[in-house]
């Protein structure tokens, strides 16, 4: 097995009587898209939150980039190169599209406590931020308020912010949600190329996208991973069919 950039071993998380993550073991290898699928309420978003450091696991270990990161908070994990997008777009609504990306660049630069130079004239932030907006096709919206762009464009902006962090791995929580067929197709093409930059842990409901993109798929049901394998292995797996995909798949 090539050295995984991200690996989870025996992750457990319980909310009251609900076992949200039940002994989850999973890894993400360089250059791959690893899709995490499962019915609603299976614990996919909870798992993403544990990886991102937003909630603590009850037990188990998370290694990232050769380090044990159990004790790291979300800020530290982001700074290590773990970039996540949110299922429901989480942006700065009053900032311009450009400012949203610049904030990420500011974090990468490591120089946040600067009090005098006007940020909008700072080429070392504006230029790389614009470059990411161009990559996702939002350059012409750069000066609009994030609150005023369309839902699909906000999804693209989420991607641009994650890209601007130049991460070592992406955690994408349903990036296609509410995108429409045209947008999903474009994003699928984009993610296909992105895996060369950094591996992607992809939570997604859009099965066309998952089957088109995934190198490996893990299926989460009631907090447990019931199968991990290639697209063909998962398609052929009887447990998965019963639990999730239904008879037609």
């Amino acid at each position: 097995m090539p050295d995984a950039i991200l690996s989870l071993s025996n992750i457990t998380k319980q909310f009251g009587s609900l076992l949200a993550s039940d002994d989850v073991t999973l890894d993400l290898r360089p250059g791959e898209i690893h899709a995490l699928i499962g019915p609603n309420g299976a614990g996919k978003s909870t798992l993403i939150k544990q990886i991102a450091g937003e909630i603590q696991s009850d037990s188990g270990n998370i290694h990232f980039d050769g380090q044990l990161i159990n004790e790291f908070d979300a800020v530290a994990r982001s700074r290590m190169g773990l970039a996540r997008t949110f299922q429901v777009s989480s942006l700065m609504p009053e900032f311009s599209v450009l400012q949203n990306v610049m904030l990420a660049r500011q974090s990468v630069s490591g120089k946040v406590f600067r009090f005098f130079r006007p940020v909008l004239g700072d080429k070392s932030l504006v230029e790389p931020a614009m470059a990411q907006l161009e990559r996702v096709g939002l350059a012409d919206r750069a000066q609009m308020r994030a609150a005023d762009i369309s839902h699909g464009e906000r999804r693209q902006l989420e991607m641009a912010v994650a890209l601007a962090l130049e991460p070592k791995a992406f955690l994408l929580d349903e990036p296609m949600a509410g995108m429409g067929p045209e947008g999903s197709k474009r994003l699928t093409g984009f993610l296909d190329g992105l895996r060369a930059q950094a591996p992607i842990l992809l939570v997604e409901h859009d099965m066309d996208a998952v089957f088109a993109l995934a190198d490996r798929i893990s299926v989460l049901v009631y907090g447990r991973i019931i199968a991990t394998g290639t697209v063909d292995e998962i398609r052929g797996n009887e447990d998965v069919k019963r639990a999730y995909l239904g008879e037609e798949a």
Partner: protein
């Protein structure tokens, strides 16, 4: 063109602040100069609060603590100097002073340290808890001042002669006004620069979406703490000037009424607007002296006005006149 309209309104406010006392000087009305000085000082206290309240989204109900610390810095240092009693003799000698510049530095340093301590605790909470804990800390300092007889306790402390500034007769009303107006100008300029900087972007980001801040790897807490300290320092500077204006400092400057008043300046003028505190402080003083002269319940219409602003005009009076702000 809303931004230009706001610039126009800001210019009118700035010109009015300078013109009114000049005209009053011509008409030999020193009381009006004193009122204008009060506006400038209150506006400065508001500029401090606006940094955390307006741009940082942190509703501090304890800024009287810093206003009062500034006031007591002026009062305590001056009283020691005027009585020829050193503040401390061992291990090394610290004497009082009647020099404003030294007083300001002391006010800035002490308020920064106190704000660092208060902020480090209060900023771990949010919402109503933050409001209540900042209030609680300010009240602690208030009761401390009341029960400390060395500096007048409840009766406060008089500054017999207004403290001095090199090359300026500070007892001359228009000179002291000019000093306060210039200080206000500096503080507002600093505030304008600050909110456009990297730090300002992060501060406003932390207000809008702390989850997103964390996800891009910037801890909101540190940003807010630094903003809280800077904000407290500005308000303390205003407090030092206010003590010199009245030549008197008392625990009233530390009470929660004062925190509320500073908050009213910001809200009345426009939360998160650079000139909001100036508009708010001016409106407050005008109301107090026009209505207060004829009706002792002048705070009733003030309350109604505040209610209207909060319910219908979130941008405050500057917001009503200048229209919706575009992006930050």
């Amino acid at each position: 063109m809303t931004m230009n309209r706001e610039t126009l309104i800001n210019s009118i406010l700035a010109i009015a602040l300078v013109a009114v006392p000049l005209i009053a000087m011509g008409m030999d009305e020193p009381f009006i100069i004193t009122l204008a000085t009060k506006v400038a000082i209150f506006a400065m206290a508001g500029v401090g609060l606006n940094l955390v309240l307006g741009f940082g989204g942190l509703v501090s109900f304890g800024h009287a603590a810093f206003f009062g610390i500034g006031g007591y810095a002026a009062g305590i240092l001056a009283s020691h100097a005027l009585n020829y009693e050193p503040i401390m003799e061992s291990p090394f000698l610290i004497e009082g002073t009647t020099q404003m510049i030294v007083i300001w530095i002391v006010a800035l340093v002490v308020s920064a340290l106190v704000a660092l301590a208060i902020g480090a605790i209060t900023l771990r909470t949010s919402g109503v808890y933050f409001i209540m804990i900042t209030l609680a800390f300010a009240q602690m300092i208030y009761y401390f001042a009341i029960s400390w007889p060395a500096y007048g306790g409840e009766d406060g402390l008089s500054i017999y002669v207004r403290n001095g500034f090199p090359g300026l007769n500070t007892l001359d009303p228009i000179s002291f006004f000019a000093l306060c107006a210039v200080m206000l100008g500096i503080v507002m300029l600093f505030s304008a620069v600050l909110i456009r900087s990297r730090f300002g972007l992060a501060l406003q980001g932390a207000r809008q979406n702390a989850q997103r801040m964390t996800a891009v790897g910037i801890a909101p807490f540190r940003i807010r703490l630094v903003a809280f300290v800077i904000s407290a320092m500005i308000t303390a500077l205003a407090g030092a000037l206010y003590a010199d204006l009245n030549r008197f400092v008392s625990p009233t400057m530390l009470s929660w009424h004062m925190s509320g008043e500073i908050m009213i300046f910001v809200i009345l003028g426009g939360v998160g607007r650079l000139f909001g505190p100036l508009a708010g402080a001016a409106l407050y003083i005008i109301l107090e002296h026009l209505l207060g002269g004829v009706w002792e319940f002048w705070q009733l219409p003030l309350g109604v006005l505040l209610l209207i602003v909060v319910l219908f005009a979130r941008g405050g009076s500057v917001g009503v006149l200048a229209g919706e702000r575009k992006h930050a």
